[in-house]
C-alpha cells in the first residue's frame, strides 16, 4: 500500500515478505531446473560444434524434406480444424438443442486420449488389413504410412483447440449482436463476417496458433502411422528421433532448435495477444 506506512504494518491479504521471497525463490529454482534447463540444452547441443555444422545439417536433403512435410501437414490440418472449430462453436453457442453437453464432451475427447492410441485407431481404421484400408490401397490412395494418415493423426490430436478457445468467448458475447444485424437485413454470411468475426478474431488466432504448434510438433500419433520412410513420411519430430537414435546429435538438436523457435514464436504471439487483447481473451482463460 502506501509507502509512508510504518514498517510494522502489513496488509491483511499479504504474506510476510520473508515467506514471499522464500516461496518465489523455490518456485523459480524448480522452473529453471524443469523448464529453462532443457531449453538451453537444445540450443547448446545444436550449436555445440558451431553455427556452420548446425546450419549445414539443416540443409541436408533429409532434413529439408522433413521440414517440407511438416509444413504440408500443418497447411492441411490447421485450416480444416479451424473450419471445424468455427462451425462447432457457432453450432454450440447460437442454438439450443438436446445433447449439447455430449457433443462438447466428444469434441474434447482427443485431449484425453493418448496420441499412441490415436495412431492405433487410425491403423485399425485405415490400415491395409481393414476393409476401408484395403479398398483405399487398391485404389492407390493408402492412408497409413502415407501423407493422409499423418494429416489425420495431426488433425485428431489438435481437433479441439480452436473450438475450445472460441466457445467461451462466444458464450460471453451472447446472441444479441447477431440478432440485431439480422433484423437490419444482413445476410447470415454477412452477419458472421461483419459482426461475429471481429469479436472473436483474437481468440480465433490464439486457437489457430496452439493448433499449429501442436500439429507441427506431434510425435506419438504420427510415429505410429508414418512408417518412418526417410525423405517421404518422416516429419520433423520423427526425423529428430531417427537422427538422435543414430547418434547424429548435432543434426537432431539443430532440427529440434527449429521447432523450439516455433514454440517461442507461438508463446510470444500468445503473450502479446494476452497483453493487448486481455478483454477478448478473458473469457477463454476463465474456462
Amino acid at each position: 500500500m502506501s509507502d509512508t506506512a510504518p514498517a510494522t504494518f502489513r496488509v491483511a491479504t499479504e504474506e510476510s515478505p520473508l515467506f514471499q521471497v522464500i516461496l518465489t525463490v523455490i518456485v523459480l529454482a524448480l522452473l529453471v531446473l524443469l523448464l529453462f534447463a532443457p531449453l538451453v540444452a537444445v540450443f547448446y547441443e545444436a550449436l555445440g560444434k558451431g553455427w556452420v555444422t548446425a546450419v549445414t545439417s539443416l540443409a541436408d536433403p533429409e532434413a529439408l524434406s522433413a521440414i517440407r512435410l511438416t509444413l504440408t501437414v500443418a497447411a492441411i490440418a490447421v485450416p480444416l480444424n479451424t473450419i471445424f472449430g468455427i462451425a462447432a462453436a457457432w453450432l454450440i453457442t447460437k442454438y439450443d438443442f438436446r445433447g449439447k453437453a455430449l457433443l462438447i464432451t466428444l469434441i474434447d475427447l482427443p485431449f484425453s486420449v493418448s496420441p499412441v492410441v490415436v495412431g492405433l485407431c487410425i491403423v485399425l481404421t485405415f490400415g491395409a488389413n481393414s476393409w476401408i484400408g484395403a479398398l483405399l490401397v487398391q485404389a492407390g490412395h493408402p492412408v497409413v504410412f502415407a501423407l493422409p494418415g499423418i494429416v489425420l493423426a495431426s488433425m485428431i490430436v489438435t481437433f479441439p483447440f480452436v473450438a475450445r478457445e472460441l466457445i467461451p468467448v462466444m458464450v460471453e458475447q451472447g446472441r444479441a449482436e447477431e440478432e440485431a444485424a439480422l433484423t437490419l437485413g444482413a445476410s447470415g454470411w454477412r452477419t458472421f463476417r461483419t459482426v461475429t468475426l471481429p469479436n472473436i478474431r483474437w481468440a480465433l488466432l490464439y486457437g489457430v496458433l496452439l493448433c499449429n504448434a501442436r500439429a507441427m510438433g506431434e510425435f506419438g500419433a504420427v510415429s505410429v502411422v508414418s512408417g518412418k520412410i526417410r525423405g517421404q513420411t518422416a516429419t520433423m519430430p520423427i526425423t529428430i528421433e531417427m537422427l538422435y537414435n543414430e547418434y547424429l546429435s548435432v543434426a537432431a538438436f539443430a532440427l529440434a532448435a527449429v521447432l523450439a523457435c516455433l514454440a517461442f514464436v507461438t508463446l510470444a504471439l500468445k503473450t502479446f495477444l494476452e497483453i493487448r487483447h486481455a478483454d477478448a481473451l478473458a473469457a477463454a482463460r476463465r474456462h
Binding site: 500500500m1 502506501s2 509512508t4 506506512a5 510504518p6 510494522t8 504494518f9 502489513r10 491483511a12
Partner: protein, 239 residues
Amino acid sequence: MHIDIDEISKLFGTTAALSPVSLAIPSGALVALLGPSGSGKTTLLRILGGLEFPTSGRVLFDGQDATGLSVQDRRVGFVFQSYALFRHMTVFDNIAYGLNARPRATRPQKAEIARRVTKLLELIQLPDIGARYPSQLSGGQRQRVALARALAIEPRMLLLDEPFGALDAKVRKELRQGLRDLHDTTGLTTIFVTHDQEEAMELADLVVVMSMGRIEQIGKPQDIRAKPASAFVREFISA
C-alpha cells in the same frame, strides 16, 4: 468502548483519501458515516478495522493507542459490503470460523462453539439454517449471517460497510430495525458507512457527514437536519 480518531490522514499515492480528521465516538453509540462515494468514509472505517493504515495520526480504543495493532489483534467485528461469506463453508462453519481460528490455548471446546453458534443463529432469528451454504441464502439472510459471524468473536466494536447496500428496498427497511435491535441488545459501539441520508438519519444516534476526505458536520440527526453546517450538508441531506 469509546473510540478516538486523532488527526488521521491517508494518502493513496499522492491523492488524499482523508485530510486530517478527528472524531470522538462515545461508548455504546450507533454512528453513521454518511457521504457520497469518494468522501473517505470507507477508508476511515477500514482504518478503524486495521485493514488500512493511516499515513499520519492515531486511533485510540478506550484511550489506548491502537494505531499499530494488527487486524487479528484488534477484535473488531467487520461486516463487508459484499458480506464476504466463505462460500465453501456452511453457515454454521462460517459463524464458528473466528472461534476455530484461535490458537489452541484460547480456543473454546467444540461443544461450547456449537452452543455459541446456535445462540447467534437465534439472535439473528434464523435458527434453522446452520447446515446451509451461503449460495442457498437470500441477500437479507446473508447479511444477517455476516453479522452473526462478526459477533461470534465477541468483538469490541462493530464496523459495517454499506450493510444494506446490496439489498432491495423492502428488505432494507426490515433489516434496519434488525440492526437497531442488535445494537440495543449487545450494547456494542457500532459504526456503519452509508451513502443513504435517510438510512443514516433514521438509524444512527450520531451522524458524521463526510465529503472529499473531510468531516463536514458531526451531530444528532435532528440537529443536522435543523442546522446544516454547510451548503454541502444542506444539499446532501435534502437529496
